[in-house]
């Protein structure tokens, strides 16, 4: 490792912190709109364990989205540090950021965001193409992943021909394309009914156990919160509470 590369990593205590897949240290984000400044984040710090199932909650305007984008490598902090797999994302150029987004993080969206003009298989193959895999290799791998989410038979269907739950499963398959360490899910059950939502939650749970991926979701879905290891509350640009579902006392009865 060159000195320059070494500087990219969280030098101090990096070995003992190796269990953390994401570290956010005093992250602040200021949006400037002409004269006025909006403080979206006012110093948020969080360590995310490898293989953890983390939920982020917060009212709209709390800075939840900003924080979420930050730890997913979609945005850079104004000050403070975000380490993804011990790499300071603020120091990456656009090519390295794209590389990171392609291989380290898988994204799952509330509105599924499958490319409508492509089949499910092509959707799952797309991130592999971006990662430089050749078609044959990618097709084989994509079919394997689709099988894992139970949609192998529908590989050649277009997204529009499928139900919301199925589309979200394809989107999850796509997020797994390059074997990421982290899956970042933005309200993944927000557009689904309770039953399909539950299927998605179970799928996430299974993937976490089978593949050891870290799952971070922004959600208000009580079932999802209940399934997570930790729940992070963001209010007014700060992390105000980190607790387990038990501490938060989420009862099943509240779901219905």
């Amino acid at each position: 490792m060159t000195q320059e590369q070494e500087a990219l990593f969280a030098g101090e205590g990096s070995t003992e912190k190796a269990g953390f897949v994401i570290r956010a240290v005093d992250v602040r984000k200021v949006y400037r709109m002409g004269e006025s400044e909006t403080h979206a984040l006012r110093g948020a710090s969080l360590d995310v364990h490898r293989g953890e199932y983390l939920s982020i909650m917060g009212p709209s305007g709390s800075g939840k989205t900003t924080f979420f984008n930050m730890i997913g490598g979609l945005d850079k902090p104004t000050s403070g540090k975000v380490y993804i797999d011990q790499v300071d994302i603020a120091q990456l150029d656009p090519f390295e950021l794209a590389w990171l987004r392609c291989r380290k993080v898988g994204y799952v969206f509330q509105t599924f965001n499958l490319i409508q003009v492509m089949t499910c298989l092509e959707n799952v193959m797309l991130p592999m193409a971006f990662a430089g895999l050749d078609d044959e290799e990618a097709r084989e791998k994509a079919i394997g992943i689709l099988e894992r989410v139970g949609l192998k038979e529908r590989a050649l269907h277009k997204p529009a021909e499928m139900s919301g739950g199925q589309q979200q499963r394809v989107a999850i398959a796509r997020s797994l394309a390059n074997s990421p360490d982290i899956i970042l899910a933005d309200e993944p059950t927000g557009n689904l009914d309770l039953k399909t939502g539950e299927e998605i939650i179970n799928l996430f749970d299974r993937l976490r156990k089978e593949l050891g991926v870290t799952i971070i979701s922004a959600t208000h879905d009580l079932k999802m919160l209940r399934a997570s290891d930790r729940i992070v509350w963001i209010e007014d640009g700060r992390i105000t509470r980190v607790s387990t579902p038990e501490e938060m006392n989420i009862a099943v009865s509240e779901v219905h």
Binding site: R101, N113, R174, D186
Partner: protein
């Protein structure tokens, strides 16, 4: 722990495939984008075709007129030409007028190598010097009358004693010059109209593509989340635009060219148009229109493509476009 690498730009072929898929699926939107190019290029091509036909027909008419005048001169020397022996020397390259004259002279008995018994000798072609064999040829003639197409052609001594009339090569040049000047004046105006119409085309295509980009905000953001580089997104839109532009220009060129051909053909005569039409030039200007349309489409796509490429990946998350 892996080292962070640099994302590699995906090749042209992959972008082409994705762009083609997009065009096929969003066929309606593609047609809207294309229609601007079709109209603009059809207008360009119909103008070019019109100019070509007008010029060709005008010069064809002129040549025919001159050839007829030349024929009258021949007739004034020898009377009715049918069956008359007329000797012809081709001295240098034949002009189109002279070729037409030869056609008009077809009823006479044309002889190429000998002037024996001929009532008249025609010297055609553009060479400055008269042919050396002239003296020998004229010696056998009964009347020794020579008509020459070039006024100041130099004759060898010995051939000077022939009675020589000169065709009006100069008048012909004068007429051509006037025709050219008129064409330049005309084409200046049409050029201005063409430029404006092409500008409108570019703006139209640019606008349609911008709409297309805003419709695809989420898709573009998603691709960026999945690891697409800005260059790839830009390339995607440039390819889409150039493919659409090429298809549109092809259609526009065909429509404009053929329509204009039919209209002008009907207003003059099809026979005259067919005979005078420089088809090679027509095809070349058709190709030029296609190339121009494609280039303009790419030009129109630069801003929308850059706009798309600049989008931040986070816009995939919650945009509700």
């Amino acid at each position: 722990m892996e080292k962070i690498g640099k994302q590699v730009h995906l090749g042209f072929r992959r972008a082409l495939r994705i762009a083609m898929q997009g065009i096929r699926i969003r066929f309606g939107r593609s047609l809207v984008t294309i229609s601007g190019v079709v109209l603009g290029i059809a207008f360009l091509m119909s103008n070019l075709t019109g100019q070509i036909i007008q010029k060709a027909v005008a010069s064809e008419r002129d040549q025919r007129q001159t050839a007829t005048l030349m024929l009258t001169m021949v007739q004034s020397e020898v009377g009715a030409i049918a069956g008359k022996p007329i000797a012809v020397i081709v001295n240098g390259k034949l002009s189109p007028v002279e070729e037409k004259l030869l056609l008009l002279l077809a009823p006479a008995k044309l002889q190429r190598d000998t002037a024996a018994g001929a009532a008249l000798l025609l010297v055609l072609g553009d060479a400055r010097e008269a042919p050396a064999s002239l003296a020998a040829l004229t010696a056998a003639m009964s009347q020794r009358v020579v008509l020459d197409a070039v006024r100041d052609r130099r004759y060898m001594p010995g051939a000077a004693d022939v009675r020589r009339e000169v065709f009006f090569g100069e008048e012909l040049e004068q007429q051509e010059k006037e025709l050219r000047e008129k064409a330049i004046q005309q084409s200046f105006r049409t050029r201005w109209i063409i430029v404006v119409s092409l500008l409108v085309t570019v703006i139209g295509v640019s606008n349609a593509l911008l709409m297309s980009v805003t419709e695809r905000f989420r898709e573009i953001g998603t691709m960026k989340c999945l690891g697409a580089l800005s260059q790839f997104i830009r390339m995607l839109f440039l390819i889409e635009s150039s493919v659409l532009g090429m298809a549109g220009s092809l259609i526009g060129t065909l429509i404009g060219g053929l329509l204009s051909f039919v209209v002008y053909g009907a207003s003059y005569q099809f026979g005259l148009v067919m005979e005078s039409m420089p088809f090679g030039l027509w095809i070349v200007s058709g190709l030029a229109s296609v190339v121009a349309g494609t280039l303009l489409s790419v030009l129109a796509a630069i801003y929308p493509a850059t706009f798309a490429a600049r989008m931040v990946p986070a816009s995939a998350l919650r945009s509700t476009v």
